[in-house]
Subunit: 298 residues, 4 copies
């Protein structure tokens, strides 16, 4: 089995690294040659185009910014569909919408290729550790074929349903993450303007029903006013755009998500798209005319 | 040291029970005689009025439905202030607003009494186990005096600040719990109408950044469509009312909390106030015209 | 018939002036003596306390900032209830909640006095012109007794129902005004950041289904960036607070109103409470990082 | 000058009828032959394809449901661009996004054709009367060439700016209309559940700052519970989708519009997309568990 990997950015590079380390024969392509070269040093095989990937591999991973990039890699003239072999399995691990995933699967079928949508959560740290959560959509047969590869890159791996289900689950994940960030922000601004030391608030409530992974990850960042990303506002916003187009398509109104989405949009309009998504607290701080103090205590 | 305890409902009864069990001399009053009698069987002392409590005790706990009840117990003609002794410490563990807590403290000062606001989280199960989270506001001196009593009833006990800080922290807690419930609801309805088995969603995302205590506690309830309370919608709504009046008082706009508050209000208007607060998923299900299936899978 | 008028501020002074001009024997009181004196010059009778008003008059108008002031004027020791005569009709024209209006009416009944709630819209200009809209709640009998007095001060006078109905109608009015202001703001920021001259937008849409009194009154102010009040943000916010407490009392969720209310709250937190309520456009401009230009055209 | 008109539905048919009546030589095409035939009876010329329109005409109007239809009519193999003559002016009067309008204009330039976006408001009644509001985007030169044609169909005609400005103005219009509908709905449910006769509310407030074209048009419909369209929920929702994609493109967060959009979405999910847009009151009625009574009075 020859594995292809297209898209060697923040996420893709360490993910492909695990495949190589675990002994899979891995062919690599990215617009950015440097990333390819680094992985070649680790034992991967460089390709100079998607076409070359397509010609060599029978399982191909893509890990690209958004659906339009996936579309180009798959269906461009130089792309995987036109240049690949029948029975190739394409596994897209980018975060895109289920509607896009399904449409890609349908178009690949015309080339006798199969598709799995397998977006991830856990971010760069888990990608590096090889412990990503992977939520995969596709047939049992194809899922089982690629499972060993998922196990190389991931920790918690769940086959959530048919094609599109992986993407939909990832979007459900992003709904929760985004809203929980807003919740933490409102609570923190409220408590801080009430005169409470955020360290004390954290100590008091993180072990109870208000506790969450978002609180564990982001409360320390908020207290330190350290908004180095982690997950960037603009990527989170892209995901919320996918949530919305998918929700529109299937008829699910999401009043809270969409209010939060506008808050992300405001941060981008004000030049903060590159900051960590916990920086949406800035919106609530400005509304209240109160910035939570560095160190947590006024 | 003689301890008084007023308000022996779902929460107060097991809390007072721990004090008794741990050997504190505990005087009891509640409008409901049955609760008093049960605790007398465990070793407590029955009182027949707040006045009697006031006359006997130098530390008095109150655990009552809302601020108006606390106000009456404290400042009624038969109440603790008019009938008690100087230097009494009153510890209100009800969930009320910081503004009410501060005003009670100020009025008690005229009687040479002290006040601690020490609301809890963890609900009936933790009250029974004696492992409540207690977030206390008051002076160091008074806090230290009652700390052994808190240790009898609580697990995680934090002195969050001066009078009012306990109540404010509890409200911050409720902001997060309420919004996280809305987040889980939107994600579940979205995923389910997308065709995803909620068990699979839970398995895929609960270990990552979307994970939370709310998800751990409520996802199983949603999947079972078991909305026996736990925390009732109407109590949660009362807390959100306190959030709002406190936020108004200190000038903290809370757009997401207030949107969620209206959703709680709608469930009450539709007769569901007695159900578990996770039942706000009903609102989103009706918006989407899709009920998540019992068992999680369509 | 001797008429009393308590509360001679921005609204009350010109309103009482019309009564005097139309020949009604009018007794006046306000904490601010200057306002009383001005009206005495026009033919009114000065009183030096609410007590003196109560002793002299059988129909008494109040036009005060908020319910707490009305409560004090009515039920203070020096107030209208304790010092007045049976069968007095008290007509409160302040903007308060229907729940307060009803409670005042009930308490006045114990003094054999009657109550009408008759808030107004139209603001200072219509108060000066004597063309206020008056929405009155109370019995037919009492309404008919005071109708000639309303006709002196008002243009469009409607008997909307029993006690409380006047206040509720005024709040319904404020719901619409506040939300329509938000609508105009969002549309203006959107159009302006799209590159459109707001004068052109106004010309194109004001005659159609988007047209409104809010647009007629406020679009020119927005284009001139002239936010001299008119209706102040803080008064509008007070009304939205009454909307909310009344809506809570009767079980009417108002998701849009409450979102808009938080926006008013933010402007107050940022020091803009004294500006015209059309200044809430500031909130949307900051969200979009785009200020609509003075003159309407970039 | 030979005029083409493509899209003879609810709006397009009466619009083309005015051109014919005013003596313009008008060529007609619609997928629905019946509409063409009716207009032929009035003096128009039938065409059997967009190609035929393109070959015959130098000014061509399109009035189609959405951008995808416009795209097909313009750029399909059988469409206006490939089959038309240089210097043709295409005037799209459909409601689409400014981004689509600009992209169509750019693509038409490659064919040496010009584009004006000129959406309308006023609905079917004004289309029939020939009194539509027309908001046009394009160059002065082209605008002046087609102005006599606009004058045949419209009443208030405004040249709002360059290509895209017409569409953006129409979307600003839809922002206001949609939110004002929500405002009227919240106020009506609040007043009605307060016990107020909606006729009285209407009488009391429609002349003041709460008054609006939406209130004039829709309050009677709400009182009669007559939700025959007028403007349909699903068309209004389509416009709000365009608002959102355009607002995303230019970076304008619209929190109120997007909340209202989810309410429209809910009505569609619940099968009410074909009803008049004033039927969104249904959402608020269900939230409050109170239906406003037919006739306005409980
Ligand atoms: N970062 C995170 O924390 C997480 C990200 N994700 C998702 O993972 C996906 C990838 O994210 P991330 O790794 O951060 O993104 P990056 O932008 O870092 O990486 C994308 C890579 O794809 C390359 N690329 C783009 N187009 C092509 C093409 N046509 N052919 C070949 N290579 C191409 C880019 O090259 P170049 O840079 O030269 O354009 C870049 O190296 C996204 O969908 C994201 O939403 C999911 C979970 C967490
Ligand atoms: N302004 C507007 O555009 C509109 C206002 N309203 C409503 O009308 C009401 C009055 O508004 P407005 O006239 O602007 O308010 P102002 O504050 O201008 O006037 C209130 C007056 O009442 C006096 N007052 C307060 N307490 C007492 C008391 N205990 N005894 C006697 N007099 C007292 C105040 O005196 P002092 O200043 O000395 O305290 C002041 O002169 C409010 O409820 C408002 O919401 C309604 C429609 C429009
Ligand atoms: N209705 C209203 O109140 C208002 C509508 N608008 C806007 O005006 C536009 C038109 O609305 P409306 O008239 O109501 O829509 P309709 O659906 O009634 O009319 C559209 C017409 O276009 C025809 N059509 C669709 N595709 C093609 C094609 N490829 N070639 C030729 N004809 C085609 C349709 O034919 P067929 O039916 O056979 O598919 C139909 O007759 C929309 O953008 C709408 O948003 C603006 C203001 C008010």
């Amino acid at each position: 089995m020859k594995i292809g990997f297209v898209g060697l950015g923040i996420m893709g590079k360490p993910m492909a690294g695990h495949l190589i380390k675990d002994g899979f024969e891995t062919y690599l392509f990215d617009l950015n040659e440097k990333a390819v070269n680094e992985l070649v040093d680790q034992g991967g095989h460089a390709c100079s185009s998607n076409k070359e990937i397509a010609e060599n591999c029978n399982v191909i991973f893509t890990m690209l910014p958004a659906a339009k990039h996936v579309s180009q890699v798959l269906f461009g003239d130089d792309g995987l569909a036109k240049n690949g072999q029948p029975n190739t399995i394409i596994v897209d691990m980018s975060s895109i919408s289920p509607e896009d995933s399904k449409s890609f699967a349908a178009r690949l079928q015309e080339y006798n290729m199969s598709f799995i949508d397998a977006p991830v959560s856990g971010g760069e740290p888990m990608a590096i550790e090889g412990k990503l959560s992977i939520m995969a959509g596709g047939s049992d047969e194809h899922y089982n074929q690629v499972l060993p590869l998922f196990e190389s890159m991931g920790g918690n791996i769940v086959h959530v349903g048919d094609v599109g289900a992986g993407s939909a689950t990832k979007l459900a994940n992003q709904i929760i993450v985004s809203i929980n960030l807003a919740a933490l922000s409102e609570a923190s601004v409220f408590a801080s303007k009430s005169g409470i030391d955020l360290n004390k608030m954290y100590e008091a409530i993180s072990g109870g029903l208000a506790g969450s992974a978002v609180m564990e990850a982001k409360m320390p960042q908020i207290i330190d006013r350290n908004f180095e990303p982690g997950g960037r506002i603009e990527i989170n916003y892209k995901d919320l755009g996918n949530v919305q187009s998918s929700a529109n398509a299937i008829g699910v109104p999401l009043p809270v998500t969409n209010l939060v989405k506008e808050i992300f949009s405001s941060e981008i309009a004000n030049g903060n798209g590159m900051k960590d998504h916990s920086f949406i607290i800035d919106f609530f701080e400005k509304m209240a005319n109160h910035q939570t103090p560095k160190g947590g205590k006024l």
